[in-house]
């Protein structure tokens, strides 16, 4: 019954988005930290792939018996695997960009752009999730 409270509406989707943006942040910071490491190839998580995966799960839940309740069931892909409600991320090596003489495939501008994008998505998801929790809280308190 308690789990049902947290599996309602857009909450599962928002939670997964947050875990994804945290994992992507980690991958991008890893790239920045290794900006001058020889032979380093940057890794990244593809947000579009993840959104597609999430969209499929949302569609499946909408077609189920109770369209707004219940957990999302993500289908596993190469970069995201879900088991027992925890998401595991495997950042993939990007093949594009210029290869420098130290055989490091860095691209600072693109990394910073991805970082900014990721932060924006993260903050939006946090804002929305906070308002979901706030609504639940006011329903429990019986005071707005």
């Amino acid at each position: 019954m308690i789990q049902g409270v947290f599996d309602h509406g857009a909450m599962p989707a928002l939670e997964r988005m947050l875990t994804f943006t945290s994992a992507r942040q980690k991958a991008l910071s890893h790239n920045i930290a290794n900006l001058s490491t020889p032979n380093f190839r940057p890794v990244d998580l593809d947000p579009e792939l993840f959104q597609h995966q999430l969209g499929d799960a949302i569609d499946r839940r909408r077609q189920s018996r109770r369209p707004v309740d219940g957990d999302l069931q993500l289908r596993n892909t190469r970069q995201v695997q879900e088991s027992d409600g925890t998401l595991a991320f495997t950042p993939q090596k990007g093949g594009e960009g210029i290869l420098y003489h130290d055989r490091n495939n860095r691209d600072l501008e693109r990394t910073m752009q991805s970082l900014a994008e990721n932060t924006l998505v993260h903050n939006t998801a946090i804002d929305l999730l906070r308002s979901e929790f706030e609504l639940l809280r006011s329903a429990i308190r019986e005071r707005p």
Partner: protein, 102 residues
């Protein structure tokens, strides 16, 4: 008298025929309070559902109008809080009526 709002489905069975007739006349002339209330609850529910769906679509990358989604979500929240406050006022009024000695 026992059910002025008509909220209890079979309350009229205990009332007199005259009272029932009077009640029926009233509901014909004006919209019953219950109907108004139920309509509002429906509307709040729909706003909430639409907002949740909009958020899901945003997260899935099917729409990119973050501002519209945020506004929809906030409107749904305000609507719910208004309904909550109406419910509180009604509960307060009920408590007050309960104190009246007959």
């Amino acid at each position: 008298m026992s059910d002025p709002l008509g909220l209890i489905p079979n309350a009229t069975q205990t009332g007199t025929d005259a009272a029932r007739a009077g009640g029926a006349q009233r509901t014909e002339a004006t919209t019953a309070f219950r109907d108004v209330l139920m309509q509002e609850i429906e509307q709040v529910n729909r706003l909430q559902k639409d907002a949740e769906q909009a958020i899901e679509d945003l997260v899935a990358g099917r729409r990119d109008d973050v501002d519209a989604v945020a506004i929809a979500k906030n409107q749904a929240d305000i609507a719910f809080q208004l309904l909550l406050q109406v419910r509180n006022k009604m509960a307060d009024a009920y408590e007050e009526v309960k104190q009246i000695r007959v």
